[in-house]
Amino acid sequence: MAVTEQFLELAANGVVYSSIIVLCSIGLSLIYSISGFANFAHGDTMTVGAYATLVAFGAIGGIGFSVLSLPLGFFLAVVIGIAITAVVALVTERIVYKPLQIGSLGLLITSIGIAFIYRALIQVGFSAGTYRYELEALRPIDALVQYGIRVTEHDVAIVISTIVLVVGLHILLQHTDLGRKMRATADNPDLARASGIRTRNVELWTWTIGAGLAGAGGAFLGLFNQLVPRMGFNELLIIFAAVILGGIGSVYGAMLGGFLIGMIVEMTPILSTVGIPIGSEYGAAIAFVIMVLVLLVRPEGIAGQAVGGEGG
């Protein structure tokens, strides 16, 4: 009984956490698919989103009616946070990455520098301390507590928002011109240009969407936990694990990988309950082990196509 109850509770938490990881993994994979490098600043892009939301919410305040104990003002703030994150990423792409002529490894290393710059500036502006959004703390939803599930309305809001964003992205990718152009450009940039697609615009849109999703993930992570300057960087390993599991560059792989890795990380405590002496503090370590195993066995990930391993 206790195990079932714990399982349910952890699973519920896992769904919330996974939602956040899914958003960020998609963003990372999207940017990889179009710019061809692993963006190590993606975690700190989330942080930008969280703090931008914090500031926006502070300015707007809890105006409007509430949905799931979140005032309309908060959702508005998240939207503004996403927009600011996207703008920050676009400016970075424009003035830093684009002018570089150093290949994907050079871009990768540069993105570390960008990550530090983001984080340092946030730390300068907000100190190294923790923040919370100005929302009242919630008790778990009573109706679910009886099943052992302890989630708040905020958690539900995170999951629903994620579903909305993911479905929105899916519709965008599959049923709009921009989405098709994005997929076409990632698939074959030369042919995309030959077909008349203005690939530079598509690239910028992809950055906008990828960073925007990271911003949303960051805003929700701030709601799920709290805001600290390292919050995004701390998740970077998890996000990479998710993206590699799903196949780097694949959007749908990132969704699946993000969900699986997020669940696994949050479900880790179940291990000690069933007698395996691995504590919850090793959630990220398990994600890492999975990532290494994937690299060993199937470097192209679940959904990815072979991405140029060198072979023996």
């Binding site: 340092a120 730390q123 300068v124 504590g279 994600a287 890492f288 060993l296 470097p299 072979g311």
Partner: protein
């Protein structure tokens, strides 16, 4: 000397004179100077290690801090007074354990990733660093967890003469500027001993790497960095060479950790903060990938970045916390170096051929430096080329 070399030599000389004056003037205590110098050597040591991986071979290792931490904890676990496992051993055993740990972990992470594209190694090592930090933090039964390991003896504890050296040396009082006497006491001699240890480690590593770099071994690594397929086609087992470079670099990083444990006499999980990794990256990038002397230079510059904000923070205009200021400096340096001088300040200049195999008058130091040469190889005339490189080539190419 190239312009860059002259500039660097000038700046190094100026800084050395400034430090000397500061010491004589009593602004900088000699003991603290030695501490900083030891720290600089420690970063230089790690930079040499990363240089063997990234600079020679092109391997991206984002777990420098973890290998440094393995070194520090390896040394501490064997020697610390509160070590839950095996405290009190002679530091030599700590050194041995540290190196063994680093080698095993390096091989374990190298096996899955060194066959793959370079960015996978980058991601995997970033993860590895985090995992090692978590293990050290959480496995208190073995590592004393967040309280850290204390009571680490000096490296020379138990050695004849050297173990008692700081106490036996007399206190010296030097007064060059009247009223500004500089006192050299026991702590000074202790730091001097530490610095000697650092110089011994650094000297060994530098000697080993310089020799390896100029040898055919290093040439294979440089071929791999430049074009791995070519290295394979010329009969080199590139996987094995990458593994060697990765392990060698990791061992040198662990050596820096061992030094740190005996310098600081206390280690805790905070010493594995990933920022250390990127200090070292900045050092190597600044110095110039593949350049051993560049790595030395970079190591000391990094100490300025690390310790500088401490002083700058006192100036009201820059009233920033040293933490974010460091982070910002590191970030900006990475971006600026990649943008404006990706080859670093002191890229390798000389031909790297085994020294005794070639007479000195036959050795050349190209004026531009081979690394700075742009690929404007068509100076010899473009009439020379008349075919399509990719257009009309085999479609199955």
């Amino acid at each position: 000397m190239t312009k860059a070399e002259q500039a660097v030599a000038g700046i190094v000389a100026a800084v050395a004179i400034a430090l000397l004056l500061a010491m004589l003037g009593g602004v900088l205590s000699p003991t603290y100077f030695l501490f900083l110098f030891g720290l600089g050597g420690m970063y230089a040591l790690m930079s040499l290690g990363l240089n063997a991986q990234w600079g020679f071979t092109g391997l991206i290792n984002f777990s420098v801090a973890a290998f440094f931490g393995l070194g520090a904890y390896g040394a501490a676990i064997m020697t610390a007074s509160n070590s839950p496992l095996a405290g009190g051993f002679n530091p030599i055993f700590g050194l041995a354990l540290a190196l063994a740990l680093a080698a095993v972990v390096a091989v374990a992470i190298g096996i899955p990733t060194l066959r793959l594209r370079a960015d996978y190694l980058a991601i995997a090592t970033l993860g590895l660093a985090e995992v090692i930090r978590m293990v050290i933090l959480n496995e208190g039964d073995y590592t004393a967890g967040s309280q850290g390991l204390r009571g680490i003896p000096s490296f020379f504890e138990g050695w004849p003469i050297l173990s008692a050296f700081p106490e036996t040396m007399p206190g010296l009082e030097i007064e060059i500027i009247p009223g500004q006497a500089v006192v050299l006491g026991t702590s000074f001699w202790r730091q001097l001993l530490n610095v000697s240890l650092m110089l011994a480690f650094l000297g060994t590593a530098f000697f080993v790497l310089r020799r390896a770099h100029r040898a055919p071994w290093g040439r294979v690594l440089r071929t791999i960095r430049s074009d791995e397929d070519l290295a394979k086609a010329l009969g080199k087992n590139t996987y094995w060479y990458k593994m060697q470079a990765f392990v060698l670099g990791s061992l040198i990083m662990a050596l820096a950790g061992v030094f740190y444990a005996h310098l600081n006499l206390f280690v805790n999980p905070g010493d594995l903060d990933p920022i250390t990794t990127f200090y070292v990256w900045v050092a190597v990038m600044l110095g110039g990938a593949g350049s051993n002397r560049g790595a030395l230079l970079g190591g000391f510059v990094v100490v300025a970045i690390r310790e500088g904000p401490r002083f700058v923070g006192d100036v009201p205009v820059f009233a920033l916390d040293p933490g974010p200021l460091r982070l910002l400096l590191i970030g900006l340096l990475i971006v600026l170096v990649m943008r404006f001088r990706p080859q670093g300040v002191l890229p390798p200049q000389r031909e790297l051929i085994w020294p005794t195999a070639i007479d000195d008058d036959n050795r050349t130091t190209p004026k531009m430096g081979v690394r700075e040469a742009k690929t404007d190889g068509e100076m010899q005339g473009s009439t020379d080329v008349s075919t399509e490189q990719s257009g009309g080539g085999d479609s199955d190419e």
